[in-house]
């Protein structure tokens, strides 16, 4: 089965490298699609339900550095692998039509395949260095595809924010090239710390094999908290946890297929996935509860704040991106909660499995939503929520799929989202414990239906009549997302079968109650009685709409400081001190000295002799001295 894993991992990359040499766009596209499909098939063949890290395979790469090409096959990586590879397949299939006729197909198709392989490396890797290769790979692919529309054209479709919008001297709109830069730099920041942490682990323990670390057992405990927190910065930035959420929101400048795949279903999940699969190892470290608490707090904070952003955003994709960040927060918090509960003596793996299931639940709901709204933007030519509405009449299939996916996303029974989300909420509630746990979980559950139905309501049900005639999307586009949205029911059914004993418990939980309240309000506000507005809430709305002014901090203050610091150092130190000292002062001194020396050369012989005699006298003095 090992060969199957390696085939599953590397086939997309091979296809995408080959695609560089295929001249026609169609050829590139189908080549990558075939690669992705084969990869998906092999990922199923490689699936092996087993204990965590139970089956590992390693090929040495640089053994002295602890670098092995090694994979582990277990329940987590098996499911994650299938999820990733099938989503990749559906989304690349969708983008055959979606990206048709777009510029630089070579770039797009190469990075799609490249991304798939990188992501599958993260999924299966047992060796953290090998994982880092994939980790950097997904970061790079994300950067490349966010900035895919490098020309920064068509601001109404391809940018995030309203062109020309400014707040206190800082631009509040993001063309693709700028969004790409924000993404990669945020990720780089986390990755730098992440790299140090991996090196630390290797230096301290002599291995970076996850299975090896787990085998070390208590010896890991000496690691201390520092590497854990350095490590945490990697997943926090990659999974867009607060306060690094910003890059994910502006990442929506990428083509919608990219947003669906990378910035909703897979890459951003890499961070939380890593948090989950490393939790059993890190739980062995002394003081790990602080680490897990941090993970949980960051996650919960992200979940709440990003939900508010989703609720106030006025772009289709921004709403979805905010919701992605919120769900990533839920997963992280659930993982942190699982870790904490595990330290208190409960069985860790089942709890982590719950957090993991939310990745699956979220991915299969979010991917179709993105693809569907991609079709909407494609057809209507606008990205703004409220610019076009009543689409349910014109895009019936799409609207149906969107409804299904959205209900699953917000956690409506009996969709998949209901089970995964409610169980994750339980993790969070128990992790925090007591009233605060109930409040946090409740708040998160309450906000989800609000932003979810707001999006659906204002675009599919109500809103302004479209000005032009709108068609249903091409089948190559709608088939993938409809299939996926139907899968939410299928998976929901499967989960209902699995957890039938717990279903009642879930419905009775306070989280579900909060959800019902939220759902009721949302139905009222956005579906049945649209148009209710409150002046009193406007300042609050504005804070959310301005995304807590974080862009002002990142694009304004941080950039201003870096830019001006660099310039100040350049002019003051580099030009001012070094250049002047070496290239002005030094030559000047020698030039003056030299000129003075040469002035002795008068041409007058008697002076010459005089100098010579003076020299002779000096010699005499020196001898006598």
């Amino acid at each position: 089965m090992t060969e199957y894993v390696f085939l599953a991992i590397f086939l997309p990359l091979i296809a995408s490298v080959l695609s560089l040499f295929v001249p026609k766009e169609k050829g590139k596209a189908w080549l990558v699609v075939v690669g992705a499909f084969l990869s998906a098939v092999f990922s199923v063949l490689a699936y092996a339900p087993a204990e965590l890290y139970a089956r590992t395979y390693a090929v040495p790469w640089i053994p002295q550095l602890g670098l092995y090409i090694s994979v582990h096959l277990d329940q987590f990586s098996g499911v994650m692998g299938m999820l990733v590879s099938w989503l990749v397949f559906f989304i690349v299939l969708y983008s055959v039509k979606y990206m048709e006729g777009d510029y630089r197909p070579g770039w797009y198709w190469f990075f799609m395949g490249f991304f798939a392989t990188s992501m599958l490396i993260i999924t299966y890797a047992d060796n953290l260095w090998f994982l880092l290769m994939g980790w950097e790979g997904v970061g790079l692919a994300s950067w490349a595809l966010i900035g895919h529309w490098y020309k920064d054209d068509e601001p109404d479709v391809k940018w995030v924010g309203h062109p020309g919008d400014r707040i206190a001297l800082v631009d509040y709109f993001w063309p693709p090239s700028k969004a790409g830069l924000r993404a990669i730099l945020t990720i780089r920041t986390g990755d730098s710390a992440f790299l140090v942490s991996l090196a630390y682990i290797f230096a301290a323990l002599g291995t970076v094999q996850l299975s090896g670390l787990l085998e070390l057992g208590p010896a890991v405990s000496a690691l201390g908290l520092l590497p854990l927190f350095l490590f945490l910065l990697g997943p926090l930035t990659k999974s867009a946890q607060f306060p690094f959420t910003e890059w994910l929101l502006t990442a929506m400048t990428g083509p919608t297929s990219v947003s669906a795949l990378i910035h909703a279903a897979t890459m951003v999940n890499a961070g939380v996935y890593l948090l989950i699969v490393t939790a059993p190892v890190f739980a062995l470290v002394r003081g790990a509860q602080i680490y897990f608490l941090a993970v949980m707090v960051f996650g919960a904070l992200t979940a709440v704040l990003s939900s508010i952003i989703a609720l106030t955003a006025d772009e289709f994709k921004l709403v979805l991106a905010g919701s992605t960040a919120a769900n990533l927060g839920i997963i992280a918090a659930a993982a942190g909660g699982a870790g904490l509960l595990g330290l208190r003596g409960e069985a860790l793996l089942p709890l982590l499995w719950i957090a993991f299931m939310q990745i699956v639940g979220h991915a299969i709901s979010k991917a179709p939503l993105f693809m569907g709204y991609g079709a909407v933007i494609h057809e209507s030519g606008t990205k703004y929520l409220g610019a076009v509405g009543r689409l349910g009449r014109y895009m019936k299939v799409t609207a149906f799929a969107m409804w299904l996916a959205m209900l699953s996303l917000i956690g409506m029974p009996p969709f998949a989202g209901f089970f995964t989300k409610e169980m994750a909420s339980d993790n969070i509630a128990l992790g925090f414990g007591g009233l605060s746990g109930i409040l946090v979980a409740g708040l998160i559950a309450f906000l989800a239906p609000l932003y979810g139905l707001r999006l659906i309501g204002l675009s599919m049900v109500h809103g302004p009549e479209p000005k032009e005639h709108i068609h249903e999307a091409h089948p190559i586009m709608w088939v993938p997302y409809t299939v996926l949205s139907l899968a939410t029911i299928g998976v929901g059914g499967y989960l209902a079968y699995l957890y039938s004993d717990k279903a009642l418990e879930l419905i009775e939980s306070p989280g579900f109650l909060a959800f019902l309240v939220g759902l009721a309000i949302a139905l009222a506000l956005y579906v049945f009685k649209p148009g209710v507005r409150s002046r009193a809430l406007e300042p609050l709305w504005k804070i959310g709409y301005r995304r807590f002014y974080l862009p002002w901090l990142y694009d304004g203050l941080v950039v201003w400081i870096y830019h001006n610091l660099a310039h100040a150092v350049y002019w003051a130190v580099d030009r001012g001190v070094f250049d002047n000292a070496y290239h002005v002062a030094l030559p000047w001194i020698f030039g003056r000295l030299s000129a003075a020396f040469r002035r002795l050369q008068t041409g007058n012989l008697s002076w010459y002799l005089l100098y010579a005699i003076a020299g002779a006298l000096i010699v005499v003095l020196l001898v006598l001295a």
Binding site: E136, Y150, P176, R188, L195, L230, Y582
Partner: protein, 481 residues
């Protein structure tokens, strides 16, 4: 005489330089290809050593002839390999570029190709020389050969720049020489210095200070970097593509083989911080630049900071990282300078403000240049290998929560590199297209793309496995116990 193949490989570029000189009178292309072919034996031999783990030794005779003793072990083979590989690529690149430049200046390319082989032969010789004086002799030869190129084919106020280059490089070389002499008089005559060799303290400190100061000036680390941005910006671009990656890194090699095995351990932390400071400073300054060649020059300063950091860690990982940084920076920076040369050739500009959206101008070029930047930033190219090795070296040398400030500084260094790398990519290749038309596919582009591709391939096993294993096996002897 032992090891004639080493001498043959090193002398061939110098001898064929004359043929290239003659050929350049008629055809620049012919001269360029002669220059490239002349480096092949060197590439082959260094590859044998680097990938195969072989060691070669050469000697011309006893006594004063021992000045010309050569050695080629995987550690220095990594440097020689980079020199010859980049040399070949740049030679191919230079065919269209120098034709363009010579036309612009109204002169012939004869001097360029005469000095090209001498420069690279000298440089490779400096890395292969065993005798301390031999090292000095070869590095000066390389310096003087490259001087002609700046003087004849440079940009801007090239006479002033040439003086600057000559003076500072000469100072650097002489300081090193002075340090070598002190070592020599204390019985240390050749490299690699056996670890455990010891000197009287005063002589040791003097020698180390001289060698470090000389090497730092050569590497243009913080405080003595003043000459590099000017020289590398104004040199003819093929030369910049050689100076920046392969010549300045010589300082790092010199520290590794002559200073490090003798250095008192108490000096190392200061050196570590100095390396990080240089890397961050260079990265910040690179961010400010508007002239793309100056930007790359400051980026070289930054990368040399990485190298100093790697060396200061004084373990096998650090030394291996230093050799790998030389390799990855060499390939990456060569790609970038050649890209700048492509712009100069076809767009007649070095000003980043006049670039933008150049992806559409030539996508192959853009892809290659991005790979070049990834080498510097340490992402998925051979640069990543050096970055990982460096991080391991750092944590092996300084392990524990008490070194948190060092870890933060190290991470900041990586971020600063990322900032200028990706900002430049955005400013140059992305954004609304500012240039019409399409960049031509010429020999220059082939060289750029091939270099970029190689820098990716070298990351993959089995290449990287054997490189790492061989270098580290020989780096053991350089570590101060």
């Amino acid at each position: 005489m032992r090891g004639p193949e080493l001498y043959a490989a090193d002398l061939l570029p110098m001898i064929l330089a004359v043929a290239a000189y003659a050929a350049a009178k008629r055809s620049t292309q012919m001269a360029a290809y002669i220059s490239a072919v002349a480096l092949l034996p060197l590439l082959v031999e260094s590859s044998f050593s680097l990938f195969g783990g072989y060691a070669y030794y050469g000697s011309m005779g006893p006594g004063l002839w021992s000045v010309f003793d050569f050695y080629l072990e995987p550690f220095n083979a990594a440097f020689v390999f980079t020199v010859s590989l980049v040399g070949i690529m740049v030679a191919i690149f230079s065919a269209p570029y120098m034709e363009h430049r010579a036309e612009e200046l109204g002169i012939k390319n004869t001097i360029f190709y005469l000095t090209y082989g001498l420069f690279l032969g000298g440089l490779a010789g400096a890395f292969m020389a065993r005798n301390l004086f031999g090292i000095y002799i070869f590095i000066e030869e390389a310096l003087i050969a490259s001087l002609f190129q700046v003087l004849y084919y440079g940009y801007g106020d090239r006479v002033r720049i040439t003086v600057m280059y000559l003076v500072w490089s000469h100072i650097a070389a002489l300081l090193m020489l002075a340090g070598f002499i002190v070592l020599y008089l204390n019985g240390i005559t050749s490299v690699p210095i056996p670890s455990g060799a010891s000197l009287p303290a005063s002589a040791l400190y003097l020698a180390l200070l001289l060698i470090l100061l000389g090497s730092f000036t050569k590497m243009a680390t913080l405080g003595v970097h003043m000459w590099l941005p000017y020289v590398h910006a104004e040199a003819p671009t093929p030369l910049s593509a050689l100076l920046s990656p392969v010549l300045v890194g010589f300082g790092g090699y010199a520290i590794a083989v002559t200073a490090l095995p003798l250095m008192p351990k108490s000096w190392l932390p200061a050196l570590t911080w100095y390396g990080i400071a240089t890397a961050i400073y260079g990265g910040l300054m690179a961010y400010v630049q508007k002239d793309i060649k100056r930007l790359f020059a400051y980026s070289t300063v930054s990368q040399m900071g990485y190298m100093v950091l790697a060396l200061s860690l004084n373990n096998v990982y650090g030394l291996t990282a230093a050799a790998l940084i030389y390799l990855s920076h060499g390939l990456g920076k060569a790609v970038l300078f050649m890209t700048a040369g492509y712009f100069i050739m076809h767009l007649n500009t070095r000003d980043i403000d006049r670039m933008g959206g150049l992806y559409g101008y030539n996508s192959t070029l853009a892809g290659a240049a991005i790979v070049g930047f990834l080498n510097l930033a340490g992402i998925l190219t051979v640069g990543m290998l050096s970055e990982i090795t460096l991080a391991v070296a750092l944590t092996k040398a300084y392990l524990g929560a008490e070194y948190i400030e060092l870890y933060i500084a190290f991470a900041a260094m990586l971020v600063v590199t990322g900032v200028y790398a990706f900002t430049t990519i955005k400013n140059v290749f992305f954004g609304p297209p500012r240039v019409e038309g399409e960049g031509p596919y010429d020999a220059a582009l082939v060289a750029i793309a091939a270099t970029a591709l190689l820098s990716v391939l070298l990351l993959l096993p089995p290449m990287s496995s054997s490189i790492w294993a061989n270098i580290s096996a020989y780096a053991h002897s350089l570590v101060r116990l």
